[in-house]
């Protein structure tokens, strides 16, 4: 055999081997992963113009189990599953979802929800109190992801088909908790005959929401398609999107071109330049909303030079808040205190300003400043985060003029966090920069996690230990549940203490959501309590 014939033969053998290796045995694409919808889940139409195409930049789903799901899939899950209530950032209150009304006892320890009549799961079973109890109890028992939000619950009783009663160990705002983005889903725990977790993992759903999974193809460009659930309690009268497709697009420029061409409906995120371009495009509309995620500059209250409150206040005053927000070009908005706008407890009058003269005076009082001793501070922040880098650049140049040397280290989160938690306080940093966001629409998350005294450091990376502050934080859930005006006052008071008196933190900005979507979409309102979620059922497809 001449060599090129051998080459040909070898090529043929390779091709056959590769084919055999990759052979999927004649399966139909998507059939392996996608569920076989039951008789109740027949697609309710499929006209191309009523498909809402969402463009995420990463994988759509990593965990299909509504009990443990705690990642990107929230965008799809909130359209498939429902919770008892939903948070409205405009009114700062919860609204009916699967529960049509609810009451709480004066001490905030007993909550009774009345469930909506006529709601059904995609499996065909009714959404009654027993089913809701089973779902929440399973989520609590699994104890994964955000399941801790139910920590206050002592007992759940299904009094009758529509009455669900919770008894709590301590007072808590259960209407807020049951509106959480994660772990609050009500689902049919009897959906699978075998292992429910495994069944979910195969791409099935047991929700009651307007949409159900049509196909899920891990790794494909259109990873997930949802289709209208005919038996949805809200009905399908009037114009609605009948399908939702998730088209994974890592490159922002590609996402932008797809939107311009009208191939997709909604782009989750663009960069500042493309966002500006989108604003001037006829077929596209944009929306910009502050999120519930803000940047915290945590100052070490326990050790090192910043133990002196004057120096911490000097650092707070050195930050160029307005310059930073301007440089962020729309991806951030000035913060007014620790609690972002749209949450109970937001204190709008607290927007900070740069005050270099004030900072210099404070430094002088502490024995530092221009002409005096040079102060050296260490700072850690997230590697690769351009926005944090901007803050660090502006801060170190401002501090440098004040005779303060800032040695800033960009680190991977785990390294940064480990250093912050170091048992030996001398190994910790003076300034720790990180983002925070709540798992449900409650400002309590910032206070209990970041500023409550801890035995072992977790997220209290300003190392604040103040019994009076702790006591006030501990009272917040009960106040939120029983006396919202009192809660507002407590939040304002706490923010004043933590930011102004203790100077444990500076809050430079709140991140902004910048969306671009087709002009034809009607009724879109961003709800930062559900990060990046579009409630597609609420939208109208226009012409």
């Amino acid at each position: 055999m001449r060599w090129h014939k051998r080459l040909l033969a070898a090529g043929a053998v390779t091709a056959v081997t590769l084919t055999a290796a990759a052979c999927a045995g004649g399966k139909v694409r998507g059939a392996e992963d996608s569920p076989q919808p039951g008789s109740t889940t027949a697609p309710a139409g499929g006209a191309a113009d009523s498909t809402f195409v969402y463009v995420p930049n990463l994988d759509v789903v990593t965990d299909w189990d509504p009990a443990s799901s705690y990642s990107n899939e929230i965008i799809a899950m909130q359209n498939i599953y429902e919770s008892l209530t939903r948070y409205n950032p405009q009114t700062k209150k919860t609204e009916p979802r699967l529960a049509s009304s609810w009451t709480s006892s004066p001490d905030g320890k007993k909550w009774t929800f009345t469930l909506r009549e006529g709601a059904k799961f995609h499996t065909g079973k009714p959404v009654d109190a027993a089913a809701a109890k089973a779902a929440i109890e399973r989520t609590m028992k699994e104890g994964q992801g955000a399941a801790y939000i139910w920590g206050a619950v002592d007992k759940i009783e299904a009094k009758d088909a529509t009455t669900l009663e919770f008894t709590l160990k301590y007072p808590a705002p259960l209407d807020l908790i049951s509106s959480a983005g994660y772990a609050s889903y009500i689902y049919d725990t009897t959906a699978a005959s075998g292992d429910l977790k495994k069944w979910f993992g195969e791409g099935h759903d047991a929700g009651s929401g307007p949409y159900t999974i049509e196909s899920w193809q891990k790794g494909k460009e259109t990873e997930l398609t949802l289709t209208a659930f005919d038996g949805y309690w809200g009905g399908w009268n009037g114009p609605h999107y009948k399908k939702v497709a998730f088209r994974v697009t890592p490159e922002l420029t590609t996402a932008w071109q797809l939107l311009q061409r009208g191939e997709v409906t909604f782009v989750q995120r663009l960069n500042a330049q493309l966002f500006a371009q989108a604003g001037g495009t006829d077929t596209v509309q944009t929306s910009q909303t502050p999120s519930f995620q803000n940047l915290l500059v945590l100052l070490n209250t326990a050790d090192g030079p910043l133990k002196d409150v004057k120096l911490r206040q000097a650092v707070q005053k050195a930050i160029d808040y307005d310059g930073l927000v301007a440089a962020l070009k729309g991806s951030g908005v000035a913060a007014g205190g620790l609690v972002p706008e749209g949450l109970l407890g937001a204190a709008p009058g607290m927007t900070p300003k740069q005050d270099l003269a004030g900072a210099e005076a404070l430094l002088k009082e502490a024995g530092y400043g221009p002409g005096g001793k040079r102060l050296e501070l260490t700072l850690t922040y997230a590697q690769g985060d351009a926005d944090q880098e901007l803050l660090v650049t502006l801060l170190s140049s401002a501090l440098d003029k004040l005779g303060v040397t800032l040695s800033a280290k960009p680190l991977q989160w785990t390294t940064q966090w480990d250093q912050g938690k170091a048992k030996d306080p001398s190994k910790r940093q003076d300034i720790f920069v990180m983002y925070w966001f709540p798992d449900y629409a409650d400002a309590y998350s910032w206070f209990v996690n970041v500023f409550h005294g801890e035995k072992d450091v977790q997220f209290n990376l300003s190392y604040l230990k103040d019994e009076a502050v702790d006591k006030q934080i501990d009272e917040l859930p009960a106040l939120t549940a029983t006396d919202q005006a009192g809660a507002e006052k407590a939040y304002a008071d706490l923010q004043n203490k933590i930011i102004n008196e203790k100077a444990a933190v500076a809050v430079p900005y709140v991140q902004n959501y910048q969306r671009a979507f087709a002009k034809t979409v009607q009724g879109y309102v961003d709800n930062p309590a559900y990060p990046n979620v579009v409630f597609v059922y609420d939208l109208k497809p226009g012409a």
Partner: protein, 338 residues
């Protein structure tokens, strides 16, 4: 020959072993705790400990290395922290898509590169030669990311001749579902006669394949030209000319076959190179292949997945090198003695 084969195979295995140790070291030495990546930034100490136990991160390093190698050999490439699926399954899903794209690119590269190389050799020193040399130099040196964006902006977004991104029109999954045999969409559509998916895939394939084809097309054109010029100066070519064959006939009928030997052996190496070169192209065109998987893995610090992709690419390189060496050994016995 058997001794040469065994020696080269042994060397290749050594390289693969080295790559395994290296990927393991990178996985363990990069800052960032895989347990945190898996359990999430707000995980409790107990959840972290459970994740560490689950991935064997609580064992001493040599034991971890031993377990890693044992699992690899047993076909267990670890679990992705991000997709939470076995890395091997993820790779088996993503690899055929990359293979499809690179395969198409190589077909384009050969179809364009060889005739251009012939034309350049035929008109050596004249305008066609100069333009082929210039364009192949451009094709080899232009940044692939730039080319991808440029073609996308002009031919997809601007002129609308091709789709902007994607593998095929996803709505076809409902109207004409595809039966999978090889997991390579175009091949499966062809062998099952699924014309809507085939035409949709081909139109989606054109732009990304063209971008990836640029480099190999340039290399093949230059290589073909050089080899043809060398062949056509040999004695047999002079004889053929003396016998009255025209220049084109001398090149295509007699010189081309021997001249293609080095070109074909080059293709194996270019194939492995193109898989990696295609990573950025896949990201720009949303092609659901290894590149997008690697990009997602890096973005989410998914070390087992990054290690899996690295290992697969390294094995492809080694295999391609081995194939070239063995082929050369078959063609030219002198190589075996080296």
């Amino acid at each position: 020959m058997p001794r040469y084969l065994i020696r080269r195979l042994g060397q290749a295995l050594l390289v693969v072993a080295g790559v395994i140790v290296l990927t393991f070291a990178v996985m363990r030495l990069v800052p960032g705790d895989p347990a945190v990546a898996y359990a999430g930034p707000k995980a409790t100490a107990a959840e972290l400990a459970e994740a560490r136990r689950r991935f064997g991160l609580d064992e001493p390093l040599p034991v971890q290395l031993w377990n890693y190698v044992r699992d690899l050999l047993g076909g267990d490439w670890g679990t992705s922290l991000h997709t939470r699926q076995p890395v091997r399954d993820d790779l088996l899903q993503a690899f055929p898509a990359s293979l499809e794209l690179v395969g198409a690119a190589l077909i384009i590269a050969l179809a364009a590169g060889i005739p251009l190389g012939i034309a350049a050799a035929r008109y050596k020193g004249r305008l066609p030669d100069l333009s082929v040399r210039l364009s192949s130099m451009l094709a080899v040196s232009v940044p692939v990311f730039w080319l991808a964006l440029a073609l996308q902006t002009v031919f997809a977004s601007g002129l609308g001749w091709f789709p902007v991104a994607g593998e095929y029109d996803a709505s076809l999954d409902r109207t004409s579902p595809l039966h999978l045999y090889t997991n390579i969409t175009a091949v499966d559509a062809l062998i099952t006669g699924n014309w809507p998916i085939l035409t949709s895939t081909l139109s989606h394939l054109v732009l990304p394949a063209l971008v990836i084809a640029a480099y190999p097309a340039g290399v093949v054109a230059q290589m073909t030209r050089a080899a043809l010029i060398e062949e056509s100066s040999r004695d047999h070519a002079r004889l053929e000319r003396a016998l009255g064959f025209g220049e084109t006939a001398v090149l295509t009928r007699f010189a081309l076959r021997p001249a293609l030997n080095p070109v074909l052996s080059l293709i194996a190496l270019v194939f492995a190179y193109s898989i990696v070169n295609g990573f950025l192209v896949e990201a720009v065109f949303n092609w659901p292949g290894l590149g997008r998987y690697a990009a997602d893995s890096i973005r989410s610090l998914d070390t087992p997945a990054i290690a899996g992709v690295t290992l697969l690419v390294a094995v492809l390189y080694v295999a391609a090198n081995l194939a070239v060496d063995l082929l050369q050994g078959v063609v030219d016995p002198r190589v075996r003695a080296r």
